[in-house]
Symmetry: C2
Subunit: 248 residues, 2 copies
Amino acid sequence: MKNTTRNLPNCKQCKIRQIGLFGELEAIHLDRARELRSSQASYTSGEYLYREGDKPNKAYTLFNGWVILFKNLEDGSRQILRFSLPGDLLCFKTNKTSMDHSAIALTDITLCTFPLDKFKETISKLPELSNALISISEVTQKRCYATLTTISKYTAEVKIAYLMLSLFVRMRSLASDDDNAIDFPITQEDIADALGLTSIHVNRVIQGLRKKGLINCDNKKLEIPDQEALAKISKVELQTLKELMYAV
Amino acid sequence: MKNTTRNLPNCKQCKIRQIGLFGELEAIHLDRARELRSSQASYTSGEYLYREGDKPNKAYTLFNGWVILFKNLEDGSRQILRFSLPGDLLCFKTNKTSMDHSAIALTDITLCTFPLDKFKETISKLPELSNALISISEVTQKRCYATLTTISKYTAEVKIAYLMLSLFVRMRSLASDDDNAIDFPITQEDIADALGLTSIHVNRVIQGLRKKGLINCDNKKLEIPDQEALAKISKVELQTLKELMYAV
DNA sequence: CGGGGAGTTGAATGCAGTCAACAAATGTGG
DNA sequence: CCACATTTGTTGACTGCATTCAACTCCCCG
């Protein structure tokens, strides 16, 4: 990890602001909210941001790159809780509680960091920040429930289709162009660890989806020619999914 | 649903206060926070509190009884997201967003209700409320991740043991006596719907747990003679689970 | 050019689902 | 209070999705 504390970019010009922590804050509040921020930090692929049991005193906004949040299980495997994309708030918590999961950079990443102890006082001066935080945790909770539902009830094909489509939709919402492909830096084993499957079975199912022409993935790229078709496999309404993934 | 608006009990004397919405608030703040509350309400077993897609303008604290939160699935089945116990905050959200799940009273229940539009202004006057809300959503999120992990990775026996032990531990933390049995008003089908199993398989596994002497359940009561033994089956540390279930 | 991670394939096993029937408990109306 | 209906719980046989284990290929990186 190397810090690049100086020359902090201006939040007003930040490309991902509207989907980040301050997305709900009006521009007039930004200057005060920005006081929260202390620095930017970079991590390289594979580095831990924090570990289960840690009590970090900073929160982060992911500026670019992918991060996985996961729990280590007793048998040595891991459960990926979610894939974190640019704009996500990470590691925000009430002071002194310890993390229930770990976080690793999947790619090289840049983070904006915010000392946790400043949040309390900033909320006193700026109650809108409280609303922004509550709104973010609401969306995170909804996504978690949606994931829980998919993992609980459906076959491997549905789970994999849902995960791929969700990530695709969110990545598309972050981009300004109108491509129908995204960077997709995760392995089949990552997918397996997120969905409670084996990488072998994930492989077989992905081949099936490829043969049906529903996805093209290789070279760390994912292309979905027909989102509606994949939504049907995923047992979700595409529109509902988009609302869930665009939010915040 | 019948309202019993008058003669609201005093929050200071509320038996479940320390585990409810205001558990984190100091007594000196209670009077102001209590202004949030508008009324108490009662529902009978089987009644809906709200439905997926609704935009209720009230939040609730469950005063007594059990509630299930669930999503309806396209095939007519349902995914139970969580069992809500006394002290839980229900239906708290930013105004104007719609619910992603429904809620039904599993037993006859009593709720304290709070108009959502009052939260915003109360937070301005009482920033401590913001911390309480953030703290609650943090715990809810952690429990959801724990559930996700259990459902994703483990066999039916582990899932069922985990669910039963979690509910047992939380119910015990709400009681003042030192019994080792709890009211357990849920059916095997409820368990199945919460864990993504069939009620038939739940039945077989429960019989197995009974034969091993790990649980006694009948007549809407659950008894766990040896919590450590069941924790071992559940693949969790009993202490960790207790911290997660006691919180808030 | 060699090593390691990621992806691919096949065969055998096993956990949980499905279908069908029945038993026990609970609730309802006459 | 009994007769009946409904819900909840129980049992058995068969099926199928996903795992396990093992071997092998491909590709990237040093």
